[in-house]
Symmetry: C2
Subunit: 408 residues, 2 copies
Amino acid sequence: MFKFTINARLPNGRGRAGLIETANGIIETPAFIPVATKATIKALTPEQVRDDVGAAAILANTYHLYLQPGIEAIKQSGGLGKFMNWSGPTFTDSGGFQAFSLGFEKGRRVNKIKKVESNGEIIETDNEASPHPLMAKVTDEGVSFRSVVDGSAHFFTPEKSIEIQQAIGADIIFAFDECLSPDEPYERQKKAVERTNRWAKRCRDVRHPESQALFGIVQGGRYEDLRKESARAIGAMNFEGFGIGGSFDKRDIGTAVGWVCDELPENKPRHLLGIGSEPQDLILGIENGVDTFDCVAPARLGRNGTAYRNVTHPGADGRSTLNLLNAVHSADFSPLDPDCACYTCRHYTRAYLSHLFRAKEMLAATLTTIHNLYFVVNLVKEARQAILEGRFGELKEKALAPYISLGL
Amino acid sequence: MFKFTINARLPNGRGRAGLIETANGIIETPAFIPVATKATIKALTPEQVRDDVGAAAILANTYHLYLQPGIEAIKQSGGLGKFMNWSGPTFTDSGGFQAFSLGFEKGRRVNKIKKVESNGEIIETDNEASPHPLMAKVTDEGVSFRSVVDGSAHFFTPEKSIEIQQAIGADIIFAFDECLSPDEPYERQKKAVERTNRWAKRCRDVRHPESQALFGIVQGGRYEDLRKESARAIGAMNFEGFGIGGSFDKRDIGTAVGWVCDELPENKPRHLLGIGSEPQDLILGIENGVDTFDCVAPARLGRNGTAYRNVTHPGADGRSTLNLLNAVHSADFSPLDPDCACYTCRHYTRAYLSHLFRAKEMLAATLTTIHNLYFVVNLVKEARQAILEGRFGELKEKALAPYISLGL
C-alpha cells in the first residue's frame, strides 16, 4: 500500500505539502526522516524518536545492515520495523553510496604496505601485488567492495540490492545507483547517469511491487542537461517515487534540485538523499520541490556537543549553533534554545548538558540528539504548515535572514 | 519533611515493609535506589528511571559532584533534583568512601616515578620526595585526597561533607564516616568505629535539620562486638535513619547486617550502602532488616552486556545472568527474560540487543540498563508485597533456590 497526495502548492509551482500513506502509517510531507544507520537512531529509543523528536518515519542503511547483523536476523524478526521496535513507516537506501565510499576507504587501508626505513621512518605505500582491489570496483554488472566491519569481500548488483532490501522489508526502498562526487567531470557524470538508468531498469524488473514502494534515483552532478536527462529517464520508469542523489553541496540545492523536480512526474514524492545538514538547506529544498529529507548531520552534531539554535534568534555572536564544550555554558542555567519546545529544552539547562558532555555521560548524546532532531523535524513541519496557510515566503525570510546577514 | 512508617513485619522481627515520606515524594520500602553517580543514571533519562525502571528515588555521589560540575552549578540550579530533572526523592552519600578509595588510587598514580633503565626497561617507583601524599591521608580532622578528574588536592572533613551535601540539597544525606576494607584487622576497625562516632557527632552538630534527613553510618567490619557497639553509638545519636557501611562481601549480609539491625532503633529506616549486587543479596538484606539499598552493579553489568535472568527460571546452564556478546544470542528471537515485564523484554529480542552491543550502539546500554534495574527494583517490590501478604518465606525460597542448587 502506497499513496501520495498533494494538499497545497507554493506559488513557484515546485514546493508542495502532501501526504505519503504506507501500510505502516502516514508521513505528512515535507518531512525530515532521521537516519537509523544500523537499525537504531543513535542514543534514542524508538519512543523518543516518535514522541520527543516527532518523526513520522526512519531510514536505515542497507549496506550497514547487510554487513551487521546480516539480513537473516532482520528477516527472521519480521522485518526492520519489528527488529528495531519502530512501528511507523521505514525507508532503506540502496547500499550503493556506502559501498562506493566506505568500500573505497577500507580498500585503501587493507592494501597499504607499511615499510620501516633504515632511519626509522615508516612509509606507507600501495600494495600493487595485493590480491584485493585497491578500492570499490565498479563494472556494469555491479560493485565489488570490502566490508568496513571485517574487510571481507562483497559484490552488490542492482538485483542483489533489491533482494536485500526486500528481506529487510522497509516500506520505501531505493534503486541501486552509481553515485559520484559532484566534482567529477562531465564525461564521468554522463556515464554514471547512463549506468544508473540501466541499473534502475534492472531494479524495477526484479522487485515485487506488492508491499514496498520503489524509488528510482536521479544523478547528474552539477550539470543541468545531465540532471534533466536523468530525471526524464528515471521519471518515465514507473517508480512510486524518486530519490535525488549525488552527495552534493548546499549550493546545489537551489539549482540541481530545482532542475530535477521540474522534470519529475509531479504526482510522485521526491526524497533528497543524505543532504540538508543545516536548517536553511531544508527550507531551500522544500521550496525547490523536495518532499522528504534524510541526513545524519543533526544527530552527529548533537552527539559531538553542537546544538542548533533557532534560526530566527541566533546567538549574540550571530552563530546558528552552540558548542556545549565551551566553558561559558557551564554556568548558564538557560535552556539550549529559549524558543524551543523540545523535551531537552523544557527540562535541562546548558549547565547540566555541559556537565554531561564533560563527564562523558551517555545522556549528553541522548539529550542533544533529541534537541537537534526535533529542531529539524519541527522546522520542516513548520514549513509544511506555512505552505498550507500560504505564508511560506514569510517563514523562509525569517529562517534565512541570519544566514544572509552572515553572508552564508 | 521526613517520616518513616512500618506497615508490616517479618516473623523474624528484623525485616519489614514500610514507607519513607519526603518533601519530594514517597518511597515504599524495602526499595532499591539506583545510583546517579554524576547526577545521571548512566544511559537513561529520568523518565525512563521512573516509568521503565519503576524507581522511586535515586542516590548521587557527593565526591563526584563536588569535583564535577562542582557544587555551585547544582546549588544555582535549585539543587540536585532540579539540576538533573528528577522530581522524586534523592539521596547523596557522604563522599567518604570515594575519597578513601579513589583518592588512594589517584595518589598512587600521580606519585609514581618512571625511570628508563639502560636496557630500555621502564621501572615505576614511588616518589618519596613527592610533595603530594601517596594516598588519601586520614587524620582525626578529616581526609586529604586527590581528585580523579584533575589530580588536584582536596580536604574533606565531616563539616565540609555536610556543607557540600546541604548545597547539593538531597532529601536524605549521610554522615561522614571512615570506611575500611572488611579485611582490615580488629584494632584498625575499632579505631575506625570510634572515629566514625566522633565524626557522626560533628556532622549532627553542624547540619540544619529543617529540610534534609541525616543518616548516621554504622561501621565495624566483620566483628560482631564492633558492629553492635557502632550501631548502639550511632543509634543513640538522634539521626533520622542509618546507613550500614563497609563495602563488604555478600557473605556478611546474613551476619553483620542482622547484628546491626538488631541494635538500631526499630522505628527508623536503614540503608545498606553500595552493597547487594546480586538478586539474592537483596532478599537476604531485606530479611535481615534493610529498608533501602543502592548499588552500581546492576547498571554496570547491563552496560557491559550482562543481563539478569529471573532467579526462579535460570537458564538451562543454571546461570542467573546471560552475556549478550555470546554468539548464541545473535539468532535468538526471544526476549532477555521471558518472565520479565520490563520495557526491554516487551519490545526487543536478544538478537537485536546482541546486534546493538556488537555494533557498539548506545541504545544497547540503555536497554540492558533498563532491564537490569527494573529487575532488581521489581524484585525488591515483590519482596515488599510478599512481606505485606505474609508470604516472604515462599518468595525467598523460590528466589534463592537456583543459587543454592549451584552452591553459591
